[in-house]
Amino acid sequence: MSGAHHRLPGALRQVVLVLKKDLLIEWRARARGFALASFAVTVLLLFSFAVGPNTEVLRTHAGAYLWLAVLLSSTLLLGQSFQIEVEAGALEGLVLAPVEPAALFYGKALSNTLQLIGLALVITIPMLALFDAGLAGSPAWYLVVVVLGTAGVSAPGTLYAGLTARLDNRQLLLPLLLFPLLVPCLLAAVKATTLLLTGDAMNQVPSWLKLLAAFNALYWSVCGALFPRVIDA
């Protein structure tokens, strides 16, 4: 263990260690990350084919396509993050280590958030190119929307991925449970992104960011509190 971690308090240190472990696994299996990014770009392409070559319509809805691509990719990523643990019996090992279940949740949820941020930023470039969109707002605000939007997907997503990891129909159950839950998050993220892409004359972005922040505050606390029961189940 490196020296820097010794100064952190116990629970926080466990979160950082779980986060580092997950990111390291993802880095070592980075072909999976590339596959996921390719999948997300494919989804973006599919939207343009489904909608047709009307540049005006595509530009107006570029934010919506971006977030739907992130959402569709997220279930694959979230499912994967627990699949590895369950298949190798690693989850029991972690709990016996002993890692606090809440630390496990926050570590994993942070790792999933960071990966989703990466994914969203990577597909932003093809999104801007494919739909002929440009960023009217500031890139910093765009980053804030991406961070809050992906964090909102990740908190309930990590909880539900853990909940369904041992079930037979998990590929179906995870999106079935997760997607309706994410409606307010998707709504706010799409609205804020679209305003940043097309211009925000009425200064509405802050109110959508507030909704995103409230969604995050709610689910990062509720899911962290419930996750220990998921591990027991």
């Binding site: 369950v86 298949e87 019996g89 989850l91 029991e92 309930p156 909880l159 539900y160 909940l163 369904t164 041992r166 079930l167 037979d168 129909n169 159950l173 079935l176 449970l177 309706p180 839950l181 409606v183 307010p184 709504l187 706010a188 609205k191 109110s207 959508w208 909704l211 409230a214 969604f215 709610l218 689910y219 509720v222 899911c223 419930l226 029961r229 998921v230 027991d232 189940a233």
Partner: protein, 232 residues
């Protein structure tokens, strides 16, 4: 005959009285004409749907807290009744919306929230069917119910900011006094019927769950037939 059957009977009697008054004695709604009479069915359905789903949230907290199957069965009984009521609510709403607004569906906050509520709780019921181990099922159902329920206010405000067009909440203050009595009676009718159905379902589900939980394990399969162990 158990007490819930009595409650069910009282509910149906009140339903007949409330709707009889609503259809034949109450005045026609000023703007919506005869179509407005769906108020006596629609508004009670909405109220009671929200009541049952709120009950399922508290039952889920109880189930998670105590681990008792009585609470677990209550989660399913109330969620099930709530899902049926919400589906009914959306159906009634569409029937009313076509002659009044000119279309079946609108992305109004309450409509959209009800639709999302329906899929959220259908998800809870689906995931419940998939888990066979009673103890794990209790945890999974309770967590999914709690997580789904806390989403409701956020969905509502999110969609409200997004777009709006709906009648004001119907309450004794917003409707004419001649409409209040049939509305009240119909609301209690719906409440009694739904609670009675919840209790009837609760007894059945509890008996099933207890039978599952106390059933002895199956005898071991012969070695060549044994299934691969999937669970870790």
């Amino acid at each position: 005959m158990r007490w819930e059957h009595g409650l069910l009977a009282i509910g149906f009697v009140l339903l007949a009285i409330g709707h009889g008054m609503g259809l034949f004695m109450a005045p026609e709604e000023a703007m919506m004409r005869e179509a407005g009479r769906i108020l006596y069915a629609h508004v009670p359905t909405a109220w009671v749907a929200l009541v049952t789903l709120t009950l399922s949230f508290f039952a889920a907290v109880g189930a998670l807290w105590t681990g008792r199957y009585g609470w677990d069965a209550a989660v399913e009984a109330t969620a099930e009744t709530g899902v049926v009521l919400t589906a009914l609510l959306l159906f009634q709403g569409s029937m009313w919306a076509k002659p009044t607004w000119g279309y079946y569906w609108d992305w109004d906050p309450r409509l959209t929230t009800s639709a999302i509520l329906l899929v959220l709780f259908v998800g809870v019921l689906v995931v419940r069917r998939v888990v066979s181990d009673p103890e794990r099922r209790l945890t999974v159902t309770a967590i999914a119910t709690i997580v789904a329920f806390v989403d409701v206010p956020v969905v509502y405000f999110g969609v409200k900011w997004w777009r709006s067009l709906h009648q004001e909440w119907s309450s004794p203050q917003t409707v004419d006094s001649t409409m209040v009595m049939p509305l009240r009676i119909a609301a209690f009718a719906m409440l009694f019927i739904s609670l009675a159905i919840c209790v009837i379902r609760w007894r059945t589900i509890l008996a099933t769950v207890q039978a599952e939980a106390t059933a002895p394990d199956l005898p071991a399969l012969p070695a060549e037939l044994s299934l691969a162990e999937k669970e870790v």
